[in-house]
């Protein structure tokens, strides 16, 4: 026998490196796990395989030039990334956003939430071992929304749609009908999806009481987003900050009680239903015509390399589908940001992975990772 020992120093333990090339680490994420049989004794997340120097890049280019780069943070939700960055710059330079642009922004953000949560549920089921069926159903619905994004922004995933003080382009002809169709059919799709999944005995027994995250730990580790709410903490930035025009819509924040994988799964389903409610109200309230870019924003967009915000700092944050996505900008009055910092929800949410996984089985670790909902573009930046 050769000397590449299967066992680590302690004879009973098995050290396995799951990732960076593994079918269900959602990208190039790696977990170094120490196993006792199938039970996890130690888990160390290893990140950085997709590091692209995002922050430093942004500090060496004009403000607007970073906008397309934010698409590539969380490449499933480019719209919400744009939203958070635009909010940060608007706060920094005091740019106002016209009424119709606000509505379009919220429309895009909520559609992105639908995409993200649907896909997440699909991939979670993949991690659970369902052979791609829920994923492909999720993809089918996602296509419809992406078609709308393409018609509006010109791109399906890397939308680059937001501008400081508004959005790039108005909705295309027939765009409203497209959205109405999506919103009308989405809850029916969700019902169907739930019939397949929620009451599935295997899914329930695999997910319930697995990877429990306590309220205290979640708050202490500054977890945000659906994971935090699944642990029973009522914290949704759409409610706390009431940014943009979220105060005009009636919606509720679903909360879990146990904080396990099942709660995380179901809170997301419920959030999608709330998003549909927001979209329905939005489609009723949205003004037919109007400005989509304010005058100050238009000035910033006209000559982006020369545009200088006043010196100072600003932190813009939104409730992205994955949690609190924030951009912290420090300006020294030059056309480039002095400091550009991203608060990525995926990265911070993944820090509690070990606490959730200890004592569980290998298969659970994969599912827990899936339920945390990470995108490596955002974790590694």
């Amino acid at each position: 026998m050769s000397d590449t020992a299967v066992h680590s120093q302690e004879p009973q333990l098995l050290e396995v490196s799951i990732g960076p090339q593994h079918p269900s680490t959602h990208g190039v994420f790696r977990m170094n796990v120490v196993l006792d049989g199938e039970t996890i004794v130690k888990l160390k997340p290893v990140m950085g395989y997709l590091h692209r120097n995002h922050e430093q890049l942004a500090e060496n280019m004009s403000y607007l030039a970073s906008m397309p780069y934010t698409d590539r943070l969380d490449y499933i939700c480019s719209m919400t990334n744009n939203f958070a960055y635009a909010m940060a710059v608007e706060k920094l330079a005091g740019i106002d956003v016209p009424e119709r642009a606000q509505y379009i922004r919220v429309l895009m953000a909520e559609l992105t939430r639908l995409i993200n949560h649907t896909l997440l549920v699909g991939f979670l089921l993949n991690d659970l071992g369902a052979f791609f069926t829920p994923t492909l159903y999720a993809f089918r619905e996602r296509e419809k929304i992406l078609d709308f994004f393409e018609a509006t922004a010109g791109s399906r995933m890397m939308c680059n749609y937001f501008r400081f003080g508004g959005v790039k382009a108005d909705l295309p002809a027939g765009g409203m009908e497209q959205v109405k169709e999506i919103v009308k059919n989405y809850s029916r799709f969700l019902d169907e999806f739930e019939r397949l999944l929620t009451s599935n005995e295997i899914l329930r027994s695999r997910c319930q009481n697995v990877g429990i995250l306590s309220k205290e730990l979640a708050v202490n580790a500054s977890i945000t987003g659906p994971i935090l709410r699944a642990s029973g903490v009522n914290y949704d930035i759409r409610k706390v900050d009431k940014y943009s025009i979220y105060d005009r819509f009636e919606f509720k924040v679903p909360l879990g009680k146990v904080g396990d994988v099942y709660d995380r799964y179901y809170v997301r389903i419920l959030e999608m239903r709330e998003s549909i409610k927001i979209l329905q109200q939005l489609l009723k309230q949205m003004p037919e015509k109007g400005e989509i870019l304010s005058a100050k924003g238009a000035a910033a967009a006209k000559s982006p390399r020369m545009w200088k915000p006043p010196a100072g700092d600003a932190y813009g944050r939104i409730e992205s589908p994955k949690g609190e996505l924030g951009f912290y900008l420090v300006s020294d009055g030059s056309p480039k940001p002095y400091r550009y910092h991203v608060r990525p929800p995926s990265f911070i949410n993944i820090t509690i992975l070990e606490d959730m996984c200890l004592g569980q089985k290998v298969a659970d670790a994969i599912v827990i990772l899936g339920s945390v909902d990470i995108v490596l573009g955002e974790v590694d930046r």
Binding site: T4, V16, G129, F131, R206, L255, V362, A363, I366
Partner: protein
């Protein structure tokens, strides 16, 4: 009608008759054996090729897409294209692997998968060997694949393979027991271990699945069978999302194809055995007997593929719990019900065993309710 019924038997007799003209008797016996062996050796891989196509097609339809449709009409030539690809692929053996074990595992895994076909009655008079312990032979030989799988996982020197192998052994050993227990009623009622006699006992629509014990016995047996051949939701040994490909992670090219072949052939064998034991084997009206057998087997296969397209995977402890806490007690109690059925006179036995089965179902149901997951309520904050 009559010719199609026994077409394969007639062909074999004709060939033997031809050789009988000029060859001594003992060679004819050998030729007879060779014909059966050749038929099985061809039937197994061809079935496997067709099953790969069928699975991709059915799962494709379940998932709202077409499945293979490029090679040939309906993509029927896809398995051949896959075969060519597999054969021409580089055969990679990890440097740290135990070369002999690593090489032997895929060879050995195919043998039991082919052997079990020898006792399956494919039609009237179409069992290659009418072994008087056929059922025992089937169960014993199909267990052998565990050894091959563990050899492959150990020989690969890969941690994922090792995990897969450990799971495979645990799973197969556990599911063997309820599986055997669930066929005991069949043996009890027919009084024979021969597959041919078991089918003959069910002739004329007296399929065992139509009796209370047979119905639940068939379910238990089929579930165990699915677990035995590592298919969803019991595909832990190769759980793709967890341990990459489990025991065959380090196999490429034709060696991988052999594992794949063994898996599909065993799946078909299990489907065929379920059809034989509980669904009357080749018994059925109008159609020729071998076609009935194939129809029933493919119905079982379809259910397996349906599982694959729908269900998530169990976790290892749940898998074990399912076998030992649910299937085994249920299979044991089922023997008791079958005994009631057998001992009591004709009209009474249906009622008594039906009631006994219902009571057992209720008991098992409530006993398993205790640790089954609950429905939850959620609060909505403003």
């Amino acid at each position: 009608m009559e010719t199609s019924e026994s077409i394969f038997v007639v062909i074999k007799k004709a060939i033997l008759g031809f050789f009988h003209g000029f060859l001594p008797d003992w060679t004819v016996v050998i030729i007879s054996i060779l014909i059966s062996v050749t038929a099985i050796v061809i039937f197994g891989p061809v079935t496997m090729m067709f099953l790969t196509w069928l699975e991709r097609k059915v799962v494709g339809r379940i998932q709202n897409r077409y499945g293979p449709n490029r090679a040939g009409i309906f993509g029927l030539l896809q398995p051949i294209a896959d075969g060519v690809k597999m054969l021409t692929k580089e055969d990679i053996v990890p440097r740290a692997a135990d070369k002999v074990t690593h090489f032997l595992a895929p060879v050995i895994v195919v043998i039991p998968a082919l052997l079990v076909f020898s006792v399956l009655p494919f039609g009237r008079g179409m069992a290659a060997v009418n072994l008087n312990v056929g059922l025992l032979f089937f169960l014993a030989v199909s267990t052998m694949s565990t050894i091959a799988i563990f050899m492959g996982s150990w020989g690969s020197r890969n941690k994922f393979s090792l995990l897969g192998g450990m799971r495979a052994v645990a799973q197969m050993v556990s599911y063997e027991i309820p599986m055997v227990m669930s066929v005991v009623p069949v043996i009890l009622v027919t009084g024979s271990l021969s597959m041919v006699s078991i089918v003959e006992a069910q002739l004329g629509g007296k399929w065992f699945v139509l009796t209370p014990w047979g119905f639940f016995g068939a379910i238990v047996f089929f579930l165990c069978g699915v677990a035995e051949v590592n298919r969803t939701p019991f595909d832990l040994p190769e759980g793709e999302s967890e341990i990459i490909a489990g025991f065959h992670t380090e196999y490429s090219g034709m060696k991988f194809a052999l594992f794949y072949m063994a898996e599909f052939m065993s799946a078909f064998a299990i489907a065929g055995l379920t059809a034989t034991l509980f669904f009357g084997g080749w018994d059925g009206p109008l159609l020729p007997s071998w076609l009935w057998f194939l129809v029933k087997s493919y119905a079982m296969i379809f259910i397996m593929i349906w599982f694959r397209g729908t269900l998530p995977r169990f976790r290892i402890d749940q898998l074990m719990g399912f076998a030992w806490k649910l299937l085994l007690p249920f299979a044991l109690l089922n023997i008791f019900v079958a005994a009631l059925w057998q001992m009591l006179p004709a009209p009474k036995n249906l009622i008594v065993s039906g009631i006994a089965e219902a009571v057992i179902l209720v008991i098992v149901f409530f006993a398993s309710r205790k640790d089954s997951p609950k429905k939850r309520t959620y609060v909505f904050a403003d």
